[in-house]
């Protein structure tokens, strides 16, 4: 009911309603983006883009799902788009380095982890886990991230990913197995 009034006011372009929406969802949107991109500044920029998109396209929201689900779907899509763009840039950087003078070229920057516990053992583990997560297929990564980090139910994840609960269950199981394999590979090389 509250959502309905809010949506109606948003469709009228009411900035007060928009502020209510931003205040209510910004922390979760910020953290959802952050779980994907691992960098606070990028996550903040993405959060801004998410809410601008919400404001611009609220007239197209038909109410088939909950407003929050729709917002988190936008957040996830924007984050995955950002990661794709980042991967393309990295590939382009590598190509540029191959074909240019090594003295002029810069090394492609590694993923920028911006976690407070960077130097601690936990920070190091989070970095290793994030590197393994980056190598997962997009749908497995999205399902795992939303379920594990955002503590969403399988039903909520299914709604965001526009799939069934059983498919989400399968995606998360596959994600866990793949993560274990990758981590095993890492520790086999790094434990003497």
């Amino acid at each position: 009911m509250i959502d309905e009034n809010l949506i109606n006011n948003l469709k009228k372009g009411d900035l007060h309603a928009f502020k209510v929406l931003v205040d209510g969802h910004q922390k979760k949107v910020l953290n959802t983006c952050y779980r994907f991109v691992n960098n606070r500044e990028d996550a903040e920029d993405l959060t801004q883009e998410v809410f601008i998109e919400v404001y611009k396209s609220i007239s197209r929201f038909r109410g088939d799902s909950k407003l929050s689900t729709w917002i988190y779907r936008i957040a996830m899509t924007k984050s995955l788009d950002f990661l794709r763009k980042q991967k393309r840039q990295k590939r382009f950087g590598i190509m540029k380095n191959i074909f240019s003078d090594p003295a002029e070229g810069k090394e492609p920057s590694a993923a920028n982890y911006d976690n407070p516990g960077k130097l601690t053992e936990t920070g190091e583990r989070i970095k290793i886990l994030n590197e393994a997560l980056e190598k997962l297929p997009e749908n497995q990564r999205a399902a795992f991230t939303l379920s594990k980090y955002e503590e969403m139910s399988y039903a909520e994840v299914a709604e965001i990913l526009k799939t069934s609960v059983s498919a989400v269950d399968a995606l998360i199981q596959r994600a866990k197995n793949n993560l274990k394999k990758r981590l095993a590979g890492y520790y086999e090389k790094n434990i003497l």
Binding site: L30, N31, K148, K180
Partner: protein, 113 residues
């Protein structure tokens, strides 16, 4: 503890490390940033719609009117030109095959001129 057990333990610890990731606090200035971005977008949209309504639409209309006039002239001219061309072909054929006036007029009738 053997190597495999150690690896298994490390994997578990790393997978559980995600529980310890701190939550980010929301940016208190986000709404202000959003508001100014929305205003900027609306201004840009207004400007572009003003340009499209004020300049682009009349220019496009004028372009289509001129295009229509030009097409009409072209069609009319090409029709008169084709009549001349047919006559030229007819006289070329008649002189090539030594056809007389009667044949010419019959040929004209057949062609429908």
């Amino acid at each position: 503890m053997n190597r495999e057990e150690k690896i298994r333990e490390e994997i578990e610890k790393t997978l559980n490390a995600s529980d310890k990731i701190d939550e980010l606090e929301a940016n208190p200035f986000l709404f202000t940033r959003l508001k100014s971005e929305i205003e900027r977008l609306e201004n840009t949209e207004n400007k572009s719609s003003a340009i499209s309504n004020g300049i682009l639409k009349p220019v496009a209309l004028l372009f289509f009117v001129l295009l229509n006039i030009f097409s009409s002239f072209y069609i009319v001219n090409s029709n008169s030109q084709s009549t001349v061309t047919k006559q030229t072909y007819l006289s070329a054929i008649s002189s090539e095959y030594n056809l007389n006036q009667t044949y010419n007029s019959q040929l004209n009738k057949l062609i429908g001129e």
